[in-house]
């Protein structure tokens, strides 16, 4: 068991280290001289060489690569990813600043997506009208195939520009959050809903349900009391994995709705080749993923007695 934990923790640490190292290598593989990127492209040819050298020295770009690597790694271990080339602010501060905005968006969208997905599955399972079931079952496929960009703009057109119910841009309290949440939740709800519809159907046909029918339970009671609980577990697992989807979707959502956030910051960092900022974001996201995976890995044996049994057998054998 201890070996299992050590293995999983080691893997998480490796993932974060690899993310750091890869982004560092990028810095030297990229065709750009990082010093050039600090100047206006129209004027970069007229920047005197001594100025270039001064700037390169200031950022430590003239030191040997290995020294730069070790220096940056040492700082990164203490949570210092240097300063953003484009703003002069500390990378960790910048990431910590925008993080809550993206977290609220991601967590909110995930919850909303779960509500939508369960709603779809409940309607599909409980309805006795074939047309309604067909309609509802086709929703997940549709929701995945509509681009986030398009649904965002459509929602804005109707509910913001025409009806003026919600603001069209910026972080203006809960009202500013409604449309982005819906936009981001729609595509994420698709896969979860599909899975749920299927497992609801499977559970609905299983033996214990027939027993309940026979005992005189109503349709809704069966769905709420038996099917819902048993069919939910796989959906919750996939919901956790969907976190990646949410971060990716937030890039577009945050851009369309002009919201502050990690997604848009990533895009800006890439657009301006702000390498310290890129590195900070990549390492941070990698660390988040590694952490979520680690938690899932560690919780799994607690939830699943079969895995726990396997682990104790292999530990016994090893000992």
């Amino acid at each position: 068991m201890l070996r299992y934990v050590a293995l999983k923790v080691g893997r998480a640490v490796f993932v974060v280290w690899a993310a750091f190292t890869l982004t560092f290598i990028l810095l030297f593989v990229l065709p750009a001289n990082p010093v050039d990127l600090l100047f206006d492209p129209a004027e970069v040819n007229s920047v005197p060489p001594e100025v270039r050298k001064q700037v390169a020295d200031g950022y430590g770009f003239n030191e040997p690569v290995i020294l730069q690597y070790l220096g940056r790694l040492g700082h990164a271990l203490r949570g210092d990813f240097g300063n953003s080339v484009q703003s002069g602010r500390s990378v960790s501060a910048v990431v910590v600043d925008v993080l809550p905005h993206t977290l609220i968006l991601a967590v909110g969208a995930l919850l909303l997506a779960l509500v939508i997905a369960f709603g779809i599955a409940l309607i599909a399972t409980s309805t006795q009208h074939r047309w309604l079931r067909n309609l509802v079952e086709s929703l997940p496929t549709a929701s995945v195939s509509v681009p986030v960009f398009l649904s965002g703009i459509l929602l804005l057109q109707v509910f913001s520009f025409r009806l003026a119910w919600f603001p069209s841009f910026g972080d203006q309290g809960w009202r500013g959050l409604v449309l982005p949440l819906i936009t981001l939740a729609i595509p994420v709800s698709g896969p979860i809903a599909q899975l749920l519809v299927r497992s609801f159907a499977t559970e609905f046909r299983s033996g214990y349900v027939t027993t309940s029918w026979a005992k005189g339970a109503t349709r809704s009671r069966i769905i709420i009391g038996d099917v819902f609980r048993n069919a939910s577990l796989p959906a919750l697992t996939i919901a956790a994995v969907t976190f990646g989807n949410l971060i990716a979707g937030s890039v577009i959502t945050e851009t369309v709705f002009a919201r502050q956030g990690l997604g848009r910051m990533t895009q800006t960092a890439i657009n301006t080749l702000d390498l310290p900022l890129m590195q900070g974001i990549v390492v941070f996201v990698a660390a988040t993923f590694a952490l979520i995976n680690l938690i899932v890995d560690l919780i799994y044996p607690l939830l699943d007695p079969r895995l726990r049994a396997t682990l104790s057998v292999s530990t016994a054998r090893a000992a």
Binding site: P31, A32, N33, D36, L37, L38, F39, D40, P41, A42, E43, N45, S46, V47, P48, V51, V55, D57, G58, N83, S84, Q86, S87, G88, R89, V94, D97, Q128, L132, I153, L156, V158, F159, S160, F161, R162, L163, A164, S168, F169, G170, D171, R205, T210, W213, A214, T218, R219, S220, V256, F257, A258, R259, Q260, G261, R264, M265, T268, T272, L273
Partner: protein
């Protein structure tokens, strides 16, 4: 379902709840759409111009955001735009005539060599923290602006604008002498410069701060008509009116404080959201209007105001030392070989214009070449290529000595019309046997590729905003920007002659002589050696509600809001 289950269930009365829910949802949806359709409408009636109204908040939208509130830093429009409203410059350039007029400096002299510029400053100017604006401040600003400060993380932002800067001498409280190690006629215009990394004056307390500390907007202190209220990166910057401001450039004839109480610069990256927000009244004006949005917005009662970006046109800089653009015949054929009317009609709007010189028409010294070198004459282009020995191959592309006439272009996609314009040129050039290959990329990729431009690219395409003819020397001077990559390998080009002709632009401020030198420089670049093919003049385009007035485009086409007001005063 099994028969057993169906029969069990049919014994239970069916529930109708879902049906009701679905019906309710449908009703809501229809109501929503119906309301949406009826709510659609124009901007509403706006009052006409007339006496400026004081007060109100201007909600302004643009595509970029300020990455730092430090105005001496920064290379996007949001940064220069906002910097212009919280800081002032020594001089003001008249956007119509190009003349340099007083601002924080009441008057100035320069020595005959144009290496020493003496500025006599206004006595009544203060920073928003109450500290005085004087010659010490000018010195401290220019020193840091040119040299940067490694310890504070401040870049040498002004190093290329104030090339050869030695020092600023403080003669007395209100007299400062700026010295250079070689003649720099363009410095007078640089003292009014409002575009990227501009020389707007910061208080001594601000200059002591590191780049990181300058991201606290309250600590960034200028003398401008507005002061920072707040700064939210990626979202917005809010400016408040500076109380007691009374030193707007005299040329603007604006008395006293700004009219607006407040300006909110909202960052909206998505074009349709900017237009939608304008139409729905959430913002009062927006920059970065898409070319396809101009007409619909005008039709809905919004006003489009614009100004060409002074400096060089968007242009193809030919690499004169790389095959095949090392052949002047190829360069001349490219100048003559594309239809400018097609580009104007199908790609540009009325806010943009086709380039008729390398200089934009508002730059002093501009000469019109539309009737001579820069016209569409495919016959002439064909003749030139024939005479130079370029023979059409089976695919229609010419070749010489077994090598194809393939021209590789590197461009930037930051302006929406760039790529379509280049594609139109590509099609026309194909007809005369030139294979123009386009690589149009974002700014950082362009910057990265530009490092290899000398050996890899026949053409680099960009523009440069600087409303002074010396921009030609900065851009093409063989020892400075060297945009045409002139070397001793550049066939048939007298590099020394180019150096000398362009260099003259830094040697005099006499308007007549400068005009003459500007013409010589344009002749050399466009006609004699055909080192550049100007394409179109980019423009800054604003769409504003009818109740918005007085937004100024300055000589670099950046905006100033000291004179802006809203007739509804809201």
């Amino acid at each position: 379902m099994s028969d057993l289950r169906s029969s069990i269930e049919s014994a239970v009365p069916a529930r109708k709840k879902w049906r009701w829910l679905a019906a309710a949802f449908a009703v809501l949806l229809v109501a929503g759409i119906g309301l949406a359709i009826t709510r659609g409408g124009g901007a509403g009636a706006g009052a006409g111009a007339g006496e400026p109204v004081r007060g109100g908040t201007l909600q302004f939208a643009l595509i970029d955001y300020q990455r730092s509130p430090d105005p001496q830093w920064g290379s996007n429009y949001a940064e220069s735009l906002i910097g212009n409203n919280i800081t002032d410059k020594l001089t003001w350039q008249d956007p119509k005539t190009g003349e340099i007029t007083p601002w924080l400096a009441e008057s100035w002299q320069y020595n005959k060599d144009l290496t020493e510029f003496t500025f006599h400053l206004r006595h009544d100017v203060t920073f928003s923290d109450g500290s005085p604006f004087n010659a010490d401040v000018v010195k401290a600003n220019f020193d840091q602006y040119v040299h940067g400060d490694t310890k504070l993380g401040i870049l040498p932002n002004g190093a290329s604008l104030l090339a050869g800067y030695i020092e600023t001498k403080v003669v007395d409280d209100y007299t400062a002498v700026v010295r250079f190690d070689k003649p720099l006629a363009s410095f007078l215009q640089a003292s009014s410069f409002t575009a990227n990394a501009q020389p707007g004056f910061l208080s001594l307390s601000t200059l002591k701060l590191s780049a990181e500390q300058r991201t606290d907007p309250k600590k960034v202190i200028g003398t401008g008509p507005f002061v920072y209220e707040s700064w939210e990166p990626q979202i917005k910057t809010v400016l408040d009116k500076r109380k007691g401001y009374k030193w707007a450039p005299p040329a603007l004839r604006h008395e006293g404080e700004a009219y607006l109480d407040r300006i909110v610069f909202n960052t909206i990256p998505e074009s349709s959201v900017r237009t939608g927000s304008l139409v729905s009244g959430t913002v009062d004006a927006t920059l970065d209007v898409g070319t396809t949005d101009e007409k619909p917005l005008t039709a809905q009662g919004f006003e489009i105001i614009h100004r060409g970006v002074s400096g060089t046109a968007i242009r193809f800089d030919f690499n004169s030392s790389l095959f095949p653009t090392n052949d002047i015949a190829v360069r001349k054929a490219i100048q003559l070989g594309w239809n400018r009317q097609t580009v104007q009609k199908t790609i540009l709007t009325d806010s943009y214009s086709i380039a008729t010189s390398i200089l934009e028409p508002s730059v002093p010294g501009y000469v019109d070449y539309s009737g001579s070198v820069l016209k569409y004459d495919p016959d002439q282009a064909n003749r030139i290529l024939d005479e130079a020995g370029w023979v059409a191959g089976p695919d229609g592309i010419r070749a010489k000595d077994g090598k194809k006439l393939t021209v590789k272009l590197l461009g930037i996609n930051n302006l929406v019309v760039n790529k379509p314009a280049y594609e139109s040129i590509q099609q026309d050039l194909r007809k005369i046997g030139i294979d123009l290959q386009l690589t149009v990329v974002p700014i950082p990729d362009y910057t990265a590729q530009q490092a290899k431009a000398k050996t890899d690219w026949n053409i680099t395409a960009a523009n440069r905003s600087r409303n002074d003819p010396a921009v030609l020397n900065l851009q093409y001077g063989p020892s400075i920007g060297n945009g045409a990559y002139l070397t001793k390998d550049s066939t048939g080009v007298d590099v020394a002659a180019v150096t000398q002709a362009l260099g003259k632009l830094e040697l005099t401020l006499d308007p007549a002589a400068r005009s003459q030198y500007a013409k010589e420089a344009q002749d050399i670049l466009l006609d004699k050696y055909a080192l550049v093919n100007p394409v179109y003049n980019p423009s800054q385009v604003i769409a504003q509600a009818p109740y918005v007035h007085g937004i100024i485009f300055d000589a670099q086409s950046r905006n100033h809001f000291v004179d802006a007001w809203k007739s509804d005063g809201k």
